[in-house]
């Protein structure tokens, strides 16, 4: 445990910027929307900004990513293929615990299972992560229900907690320790552990009054979703409201479905692109000869919630797929973000 003065905390980002491409929360001047994106200078970062509208997912899993490039000269019968891996070193500064948990879920999915996804691994290989604990929640948050905040406990190189005039800096890796030493941060005495715990309790207690947009007590719902004991008409009620826009998938820190397309360029080469996709789309599963195993929209909807909230899927993530960020709620034209769906299912259970 180390300490850094509040006004000096950006020194960490500046130090990282020397060796890494830097990503952090940025406030757009036009509309005030917060993004988590690449910055040219650490001064663009606003550590205290609210939970960003876009999770840092796109840093490791871009909306469109060129994974390969090729050129086929048909007359010469010559094919050249070039694999493209993103080997930039990236530092993520100021990621919040929900999104950090999202990243851990993505790691377990892309790097675990039968195959390692090398495109993803390349993004993660040289990454430095500085997380910040939330000393107070925001309106949309419900990480307390999904066990993913408001304080982080794994997955970071450095973790920051604002305690009065100081940030408590915890190192979670050798890389992190090395950076702390390079910056010459002073050690924090053991009393800070107690202060941090208090800050955590305080933050949790604030959910009641601040985080009023969403509540989603998921445990009983997880049971139901796993066993499938949810009435058809509940799914129908939910499905009928879906506008099939895909937003819930795109904004979710743990959704990782993708499409692959070969994009022909003007210069005669072709890019193979990996792009975000969503299970809410009809064409996602539709196959030739009019076979769509998930034809009715409610089938496609319940797939997303199965993915987020079933034990069987959680086995892949080693936790529930939802990290309680609340984003799918405010982007959904149908008003059926995960918190509302959980409410509808709970309503059925209690009935």
């Amino acid at each position: 445990m180390y300490l850094i003065e509040k006004e000096n905390v950006m020194k960490i980002a500046e130090e990282l910027a020397k060796n890494y491409e830097l990503f952090g929360p940025v406030v757009d001047k036009g509309t005030g929307q917060v993004f988590f994106d690449r910055v040219n200078d650490s001064s663009e970062i606003s550590l205290s900004a609210e939970i960003p509208a876009i999770p840092p997912k796109h840093v490791v899993f871009p909306q469109i990513e060129r994974i390969m490039k090729y050129k086929y000269d048909r007359s010469a019968k010559k094919a050249e293929i070039e694999a493209i891996l993103d080997n930039r070193s990236k530092a993520i500064f100021g990621i919040r615990p929900c999104d950090l948990t999202g990243l851990i879920v993505l790691d377990r999915f892309f790097l675990g299972q039968e195959f390692v996804d090398e495109i993803y691994r390349e993004h993660r290989k040289r990454m430095f992560i500085v997380s910040q604990n939330c000393i107070a929640p925001f309106k949309q948050c419900f990480c307390v229900c999904t066990d993913s905040g408001p304080f982080a406990d794994e997955g970071y190189d450095l973790n920051l907690t604002l305690l009065g005039d100081y940030y408590l800096v915890e190192a979670g890796s050798d890389k992190g320790k090395e950076l702390v030493q390079r910056l010459g941060l002073k050690s924090a005495d053991p009393s800070y552990a107690e202060m941090k715990k208090k800050a955590n309790d305080k933050s949790i207690s604030l959910f009641e009054s601040i985080a009023t947009d969403n509540k989603a007590w998921i445990s009983r719902v997880m049971n139901r979703i796993t066993t499938g004991f949810i009435k058809e008409d509940v799914w129908e009620y939910i499905g009928k409201q879906c506008f099939e826009c895909g937003a819930c998938t795109f904004v979710c820190p743990t959704c990782s479905c993708f499409n692959v397309e070969d994009h022909n360029r003007f210069d005669g080469t072709t890019d193979r692109l990996r792009t975000w996709d969503s299970c809410s789309f009809e064409g996602y599963t539709k196959m030739a000869g009019d076979h769509n195993p998930r034809h009715p929209v409610e089938d496609r909807r319940n797939k997303r919630f199965f993915c987020k909230l079933s034990y069987s899927q959680s086995k892949k993530y080693l936790r529930p797929g939802c990290v309680g960020c609340g984003r799918c709620q405010w982007v959904c034209p149908g008003d059926i973000g995960l918190p509302n769906v959980v409410t509808y299912i709970r309503r059925e259970i209690t009935e």
């Binding site: 993004f35 994106d37 871009p62 469109i64 506008f243 099939e244 937003a247 994009h263 003007f266 982007v331």
Partner: protein
């Protein structure tokens, strides 16, 4: 940060977005949370706009057609070629040259297109491609309120107490407006949908008046009739407005029992809607103005109904004509019409015309022009030359007529099969390769800024048109889109208070914006002195009688499956896939019939049936759906692959918009 604010260019909702631009290339899109219209939402099209914007399927060089095949040339050569070929037609006949504008182009580009037509080629034959239906709505709204656009505001949907959606499925055509209505409904607003198909919008409503096809207008008339006769109406003001007596007596002439019978809706439902609409604190009407939207007469009935209910010009009320294409409203605002100059100023008004003559330093022809579609249809074949901007596959209907023209000029950014009809092709800079403003359905003028360099060095519309003007001896001196916008503002009362300074870093301003409304105007509010008047109505309703020979009522439509199946959408991946999902299952088109009818006809899903009318017949697959009532059937005609001669033979009907119906016979084959 790589995210830059922008405006969605698909439908007329005008959702705000953020485009991600990294190293000069577009790499994604995200929604805009604090945008007053979209509030963090986008629909499937908006979420994939980057797929279209990054395409390399572009027109990369100017081309001229020599001996039937295209040759790449410089802009200079192409302009010379065009001017030479056109010289015999200049001033030859008022009907020789036509201009077809693009409802997706920016205000600046549309303004220059209109200016090019009028000041350089001396023609007033100017029409907006695709959606002439919007003009009918503008005419009615202008007549009734003096306000030539949607009178309400999308931001106020959540505040209004009663919503009537007429016909179209907003959840598909303008999804974010549909979403706003859905959310209002969940929060307690009463939503009533009128229409013959059970659309998603209908399913999300409190009440769906599922009238028989062809009786939508009649249903609206009946609600008005009941409102008057039962005394629910706004007695204080409506009855004293000009035109009330005519309207009331035309309603009185309707035989209630007979009319109820033909709509298939119960009198109780009509009564309760009339009562709730009139009694509600505020109310809004929504209808689509475009393809298969409401026609002028239907809009007149809607407007008159709301006058009777006392819901025009008040807080949180609105007569809301919804545009399906990004800048359809802006296109009309820019005077892309034979009889209009900018801001709905009448071309026939000598004072207005001389204002433009002075500003442009040219003589303008005194006569208004002709609708280009009518010129294409007319038997004399007066039209010889056509200028087309960014064709959106809407004029596929006129393919034959266009092929017979002497000379066709095409301006566009993307590869497009229409190019083959052209004799000269000019590539131009696309969205985000140039600054431009766009006016959404609720009059919100928003700026979309230049974010990337133009593809392969192509010129902007401004640069190209200036070059063409110079060739004919007219000097245009614009250094930027902003210069063009300044000129627009100086000539257009409703835009006079707008400037790039105000629009940049804002989420748009709703016109009128001028000395009276310095910050723009959210919705049309009645002030003392302004008078409302009733619109003239036809008093006639299409007969929709089925006969023994043709016992089914067929609705030809495109609303429900309208995924903006147009040229640009085909450059995307996911929206295209979603659109194909329907096509794949029914490659040769389909007809929706109710399961009851399917049983009677002894057909099953996917079986082929023959549809015949008095004009011809076609074979299509059966799609069984409870969204249509027994005795009615629905055929989508939006897909080129599905446009059979059968439907083209009935194109007079499909132009009737919401009330288009064709009596048919359906047989198993």
């Amino acid at each position: 940060m790589d995210y830059k604010s922008g405006v969605c260019n698909f439908c007329g909702t005008g959702c705000g977005n953020y485009l991600r631009i990294s190293d000069g290339k577009i790499t994604g899109v995200y929604s805009s949370r604090n945008h007053p219209v979209s509030k963090g939402r986008l629909c499937v099209r908006g979420w994939h706009i980057h797929e279209w914007l990054m395409t390399d399927q572009r027109i990369s060089s100017p081309m001229i057609k020599v001996d039937g095949s295209f040759k790449n040339v410089t802009y200079e050569e192409a302009v010379n070629f065009m001017m030479e070929k056109l010289s015999p037609y200049m001033g030859s006949s008022a009907k020789a040259i036509g201009f077809l504008g693009a409802p997706r182009w920016s205000n600046e580009n549309n303004y220059l297109f209109m200016k090019l037509a009028r000041s350089v080629f001396k023609t007033n034959n100017i029409t907006l491609d695709s959606e002439s239906g919007h003009r009918g709505s503008l005419n009615v709204l202008s007549k009734v309120t003096g306000f030539p656009a949607m009178t309400g505001s999308l931001e106020q949907i959540e505040k209004t107490k009663f919503i009537m959606v007429i016909g179209s499925d907003l959840t598909r055509i303008n999804p974010i407006i549909g979403s706003e209505i859905h959310k209002a409904q969940m929060a307690g607003t009463k939503v009533v949908t009128l229409g013959s198909r059970k659309t998603q919008m209908a399913k999300l409503s409190n009440l769906h008046l599922q009238c028989r096809p062809g009786t939508l207008k009649l249903t609206i008339a009946l609600i008005a009739k009941v409102a008057i006769e039962k005394g629910y109406m706004d007695k204080n003001s409506a009855s004293s407005m000009a035109g009330f007596n005519d309207f009331a007596s035309s309603l009185a002439a309707i035989n209630m029992a007979e009319a109820i019978g033909s709509t298939g809706i119960s009198l109780d439902d009509i009564d309760s809607v009339a009562k709730e609409l009139c009694g509600s604190e505020s109310a809004m009407a929504f209808w689509s103005t475009g393809i298969s939207g409401a026609d002028e007469d239907t809009v007149s009935y809607i407007a008159n109904l709301f006058l009777i209910a006392g819901k025009v010009g008040k807080e949180n009320c609105g007569l809301n004509s919804i545009t399906g294409l990004a800048n359809l409203q802006g296109g009309y605002d820019m005077g892309v019409a034979p009889d209009l100059l900018t801001g709905f100023q009448s071309y026939s008004d000598g004072a207005v015309r001389s204002k433009f003559e002075k500003a442009w330093q040219v003589q303008l022809p005194a006569e208004v022009g002709n609708d280009v579609y009518q010129l294409l249809e007319n038997k004399n074949k007066d039209l010889k030359v056509l200028f087309v901007a960014e064709h959106d596959e809407g004029i596929v209907k006129y393919e034959k007529e266009i092929a017979n023209l002497d000379f066709v000029v095409y301006f566009g950014s993307y590869d497009n099969p229409f190019v083959n009809h052209a004799d000269v092709v000019f590539p131009i800079a696309a969205l985000i390769e140039d600054d431009g403003t766009y006016t959404n359905t609720e009059r919100r003028v928003q700026i979309s800024q230049k974010r990337i360099q133009a593809f392969n060095g192509v010129l902007s519309v401004r640069e190209l048109f200036s070059m063409i003007a110079a060739k004919s001896g007219v000097k245009w001196s614009y250094n930027s889109s902003e210069d063009v916008f300044k000129e627009i503002a100086s000539l257009t009362p409703s835009y006079s208070g707008l400037s790039y300074d105000k629009l940049i870093n804002s989420t748009g301003i709703q016109w009128p914006c001028n000395s009276e409304y310095p910050n723009g105007c959210k919705s049309f509010l009645l002030k003392s002195g302004t008078a409302l008047s009733f619109a003239k109505v036809s008093g006639t309703f299409p007969a929709v009688n089925v006969s023994e020979a043709f016992p089914f009522l067929l609705i030809p439509g495109r609303g429900e499956y309208f995924w903006h199946q147009n040229n640009i959408m085909k450059k995307s991946y996911i929206p295209k896939r979603e659109y194909n999902a329907t096509l794949l299952v029914y490659p040769k088109g389909f007809i929706e019939i109710n399961s009851e009818d399917a049983k009677k006809l002894q057909v099953r899903e996917h079986w082929t049936v023959k549809i015949s009318s008095d004009k011809g017949s076609m074979n299509v697959s059966v799609k069984i759906s409870e969204d249509v009532k027994p005795g009615t059937a629905y055929v989508p005609y939006f897909i080129k692959e599905m446009i059979t001669d059968f439907l083209l033979g009935h194109s007079d009907k499909s132009d009737m918009g919401l009330d288009a119906t064709i009596p048919v016979r359906i047989e198993r084959v």
